[in-house]
Amino acid sequence: MNYANFEVEDFAQDPSFRNYCLGTNETDSGFWSQWCTDNPDKRQEVEQAKQLVLLLSGGHSELQLQQDKILFQSISNQYTEEEPVNYADENDQMEVPVRHINRIWWVAASIIVLLVPLYLWYLQNEQTEISPYELAKTSKPGERKSFQLPDGSTVKLNAGSTIDIDAGFNTHNREVTLQGEAFFDVTHDSSKPFIIHTHSMDIRVLGTVFNVKAYPEDKITETSLLEGAVEITMKNDKREKIILKPNQKIILPVIAPVEKQETQTAAVEQAPFVITSLSYNKTDSSLTEISWTENRLVLNDNSFEEVAAILERWYDVDIVFRDDAVKQFRYTATFDQKTIDQVLKALQLSRHFEYSRNGDDIIISNK
């Protein structure tokens, strides 16, 4: 089919395009993501058609539909698990071709894929001494932003985060550097892998949906995968490569081993990182890792000390503890667009403490 002459109405009427918008067919989704990167001049039409389809199909957001799908997948997998789950079954389109390729070719291909962007990067540096432009996006504490990168990938930036976009982005590579937390929906483009650098790990992807949390002041770095696959490389050990599967997240302690609070068995204890499944909110079964993208503040068995760091970023306030015992209080809660006072009052109901607030300064004590 010749899509080049398609107008908004034609896209919106096309069944495979509709599947792409609603995420109801992986093959169609892959095809259209690729088509969009190949036809950047049609971007506006495609975007308009997508909005129309989503609106007329009941006004559900792409994110909502994706969450529903992932939730159903995980529930139905648990349900049909009598036979041991064979992961390859679920993703046969993606995995089957790989198995037929000789291992050596596979290695050769990865080396080429890795070397080509490097060479291009080298070439570019050779030609232009000064990088032509550099773009950074920053969200202040208390502020959340969402935007689109030139390759069509969308990014939601949580409070107090910065993303630096590499000079050659989308022309030579797709590399960004992240400080803080962001949710990525990466457009598929196998020729330019999307790489996110953080202070403790690098995340390499082809096209997926996932969340990265890497605040420099936090004790841990997290990557949560909703769809597709990502490859993680540790900054301190480049040989270590971890592949995440959908519905998994990796938690990496940044400074020394953090106090072993959160579960996990002896088997994982020696490992510097932990891989767990994503957590669901018990009341409405939404994913807690990404609830911030819907303006919901979620605490999931966090110590008050961690809670304070979260609140400082979320509300742009300063929190000081007058008492160390209070720092150890643990909280699990969800707040839907509440003020800082409402949140603190709710926390007081669960474990008693005193707080005084003077503008943006909050002092917490235990009377």
């Binding site: 971007r43 199909s57 009941g58 432009y133 689109q148």
Partner: protein
């Protein structure tokens, strides 16, 4: 009326206990079922949970399932039963919580109401409702069948007693009207992603 071949194939795969079919059924029917339930109950979360429950129940009983020609209508009827059962079991609690009115609305939501209630911001709501007002009743009906109820053109043509071509053309015209009314008003301010894209274009031009 011709029935959707893919739907029938997936249904028989489910009856044979093929695990993959559960995911396929979800993909083929989720939007249609979800919108049907929301229109009825106005509750997205409850509807979603009931759909999941229904699909899992189908899997559990796959050996006892009948052969069905119109899969969608079978599922819609089952979902309606599931929703009513859910509402009944939660009845006492819901009365106490005074959520009764929400669960038993006086009447179903209209298609327009369904679309508008999910949008955020008064300005956007107004814009969409004004755009929808420019459409004829026939156009709205067909948009609803095509997108909201997620039916294919064969089914729509049969339901409305028109040819597939006519159905297609009416939807095409309606989309065109919507596009121009929505984008005419959007034109005032360029949305942020487009702006970033523009900056990149300009910069790469310089380079």
């Amino acid at each position: 009326m011709p029935y959707n071949r893919d739907h029938i194939d997936t249904w028989s795969a489910l009856r044979n206990g093929e695990k993959r079919s559960l995911q396929d059924i979800y993909n083929q029917h989720y939007i249609g079922l979800l919108n049907f339930g929301i229109k009825l109950t106005r509750q997205r979360d409850i509807t979603r949970d009931c759909i999941f429950q229904l699909l899992l129940r189908l899997w559990e009983n796959h050996q006892k399932l009948p052969a069905v020609e119109n899969v969608r209508s079978y599922l819609l009827t089952s979902l309606q039963r599931e929703l009513i059962a859910h509402i009944k079991t939660n009845r006492v609690r819901e009365i106490n919580n005074q959520k009764w009115d929400q669960l038993y609305p006086g009447q179903e939501l209209s298609y327009e109401e369904c679309l508008i209630q999910t949008q955020q911001g008064e300005e956007l709501k107004n814009r969409i409702s004004q755009a929808l007002m420019k459409l004829s009743a026939r156009e709205k009906e067909l948009l609803q069948l095509k997108f909201f109820e997620d039916l294919d053109y064969d089914t729509i043509a049969g339901k409305c007693n028109i040819t597939k071509r006519t159905a297609y053309n009416i939807v095409h015209g309606a989309l065109k009207t919507l596009k121009s009314t929505l984008s005419a008003k959007q034109g005032k301010k360029l949305p942020e992603p487009a702006l970033i894209h523009l900056i990149f274009l300009v910069l790469s031009g310089i380079q």
